[in-house]
């Protein structure tokens, strides 16, 4: 008797789960041959701020740009790992012509499914693995962080900058080091304290990290995690911060100095256009290097919101730094450059190439502490 009830209960749960599952596959109308079908895989609910939201804005731009010619759909809340493989495979089976997977952790699932469906075009965001039918796209997020460093250096009074970071991977370390380069270009005395949250998204922990950094004397905060909690904490404590991935000024009207906004729309539109023209390619060679797109401020892949809550001379310096990076007159990682243990990374006149950027496993001078392994 007891067992029967449990089975009924489990059955009910399975039905509920199935209903939830199928309702998350929104916008999937029946197949029409003339339309190109493009699907997006999202890590979280898009909401209206942060990483996935920026991708959703890109998808909407695609829909607006192509109108009836393209049919887009997305699946949200897809965990990285085996679940992702299942979702991507289903999208491939459902007749999508092109699939964008929008988180680093989808890299291997995407590659696996790409090999099973050689006629479908896959595009993985922020990864490094490519195949005949799998390209990669990324934004030079670190360029925006240099500008943040400039603004922080001119804003701070305590000369202590707090930095809440997610995981010690090259992308995040690039950001910290780029911030430090910007900071040092205007303020030699300021230092950066990094706190690793070990999560991309845990508002309470991010808020706690911000409180701790403020308690330690930081008066400008930067973040490489996804929630607006740090900015809200900064707002409450009367210090400053920067928005992440999307404009977060609504959470912190007097604390957000500016936000670096990820602008995926142009990339998605260009890739889909290429697929329509037949010019989409991932290039020759085992690593399909040509299938990688990595652009930043110069191509508006990264956009900065208005500079606010700062005096006009700081805003001017920020604008100059932004323009300098965009037109190539500022090279963020150029010699002489030292790590924070006194070893020389770049001699005078040397410039770090993309390979060097992805191999970053050190803090540059100005950052306190060591990278955890």
């Amino acid at each position: 008797m007891k067992n029967n009830r449990f089975i009924i209960f489990a059955g009910l749960l399975a039905i509920i789960a199935a209903v939830f599952y199928f309702t998350t596959n929104v916008d999937q109308v029946e197949d029409k041959e003339t339309k190109m079908k493009v699907a997006f895989v999202y890590l979280t609910n898009p909401g209206d701020h942060g990483w996935t939201y920026a991708h959703e804005v890109g998808r909407q731009q695609v829909q607006e740009h192509f109108g009836d010619k393209v049919e887009t759909s997305y699946v949200e809340n897809v965990p990285e790992g085996p679940d992702a493989t299942r979702v991507i495979r289903e999208l491939a089976q459902n007749g999508n012509d092109m699939i964008f997977t929008t988180s680093f952790g989808y890299m291997e699932p995407t590659l696996k499914v790409a090999k099973e469906f050689p006629n479908i075009k896959f595009d993985h965001i922020t990864g490094y693995m490519r195949a005949e039918n799998m390209a990669t796209g990324n934004i030079r997020f670190y360029e925006g962080r240099y500008v943040q460093g400039v603004v922080a250096g001119l804003t701070t009074k305590s000369n202590k900058i707090g930095y809440v970071a997610a995981f010690p991977i090259p992308e995040v370390i690039q950001g910290i080091n780029s911030f430090a380069q910007g900071l040092k270009s205007v303020n030699k005395n300021a230092t950066i304290s990094v706190v690793w949250a070990n999560t991309w998204y845990d508002p309470v922990k991010e808020g706690d990290a911000a409180k701790v950094l403020i308690a330690e004397g930081a008066d400008v905060l930067a973040q490489h995690t996804d929630s607006p909690a740090m900015l809200q904490t900064a707002e409450k404590a009367g210090v400053y911060g920067f928005g992440q991935s999307s404009d977060m000024h609504e959470f912190a009207p007097s604390a957000q100095l500016f936000a670096s906004v990820n602008n995926w729309g142009p990339y998605y539109i260009a890739q889909i256009q290429k697929a329509m023209d037949g010019s989409w390619t991932t290039g020759e060679g085992p690593d399909h290097r040509a299938g990688n797109t990595w652009k930043g401020l110069s191509e508006d892949f990264l956009v900065l919101t208005d500079f606010k809550n700062m005096p006009s001379n700081v805003a001017k310096a920020a604008q100059e730094a932004r323009d300098g990076i965009a037109n190539g007159s500022i090279n963020i990682f150029s010699g002489p450059m030292m790590d924070n243990e006194g070893n020389q990374i770049l001699a005078s006149g040397e410039v770090l190439d993309d390979g060097g950027l992805w191999a970053m496993n050190y803090y540059v001078d100005g950052v306190i502490g060591k990278i955890p392994n």
Partner: protein, 302 residues
Amino acid sequence: MIDALVLTILMTSVPLILAATGELVVERSGVLNLGLEGMMLMGAVSAFALTYVSGSLLVGLLAGIMSGCLTAAIFGFFVLGLATNQVATGLALTIFGTGLSGLIGSDFVGKAIEGLPTVFPETLSNMPFIGVFFALDAIAYLSIFISFLVWIFLFKSKYGLILRACGISHNSAHSLGYKVLTVRWCSILFGGMMAGLAGAYLPLMLTPHWSEGMTSGRGWIALALVVFASWMPSRIVYGAILFGAITIMQLAGQARGWTIPPQFLSSLPYIATIFVLVLISSKGTAKYLAPSDLTRPFISSK
């Protein structure tokens, strides 16, 4: 500087105290509700949504408490009404609460509200050393008070004795004429209200916005805390502050450039819980052991 750290530690521990105290009462009555995380999320989303819509923190708080209670009622219906397996039902409740709160909250992502105010004026909270104890909000003080009341109730009152009897041996309690199911219903609903309040504290105080899954495992820490506290209310308060201190100190340690791996510090609450489990089982003092009828469904023979 130290003041601010202590304040952060105290605030971090408040939801743990609330949720764990509620769960303690539930477990003392012989029911294990692993759905804490789900109930907290339901409390969090309702509290935020109602505060946002009505503009009143009080309405939001009540909504949080009520929805925690309602979510617990679903659990009660299954484990008491249908005598289902408590572990499986509790896990299902967590999944259910996570999903439903995300669905309800999808319209409220990205909205911001004003958080709870502090109780005492700034002149008190700005005092050196002791000022930090006057810098908290009403729920923080309430959490300590509730924990004290629960202790009085459980160990100094007749009804507390009945509740504990149901947890130790529901058959004995039943043969003495006590209504085991009624007692368990009451404690499950109380546990739900406390979890709802704990959840409400997150979007109303700690980070005044709603985001999906914002409890991020705090329900599980609260569950570990009940075991850590060996089912004693006062120890929940100490334990929560200790767990809060570990969480905050690992962040502060990083900011100061200490070289202890943060992953190790993050796992400390769980290691401490296992350590306490080993200690109490080797001591074998009945008072500090798990209620012996914990997780055993009660089916009255008619």
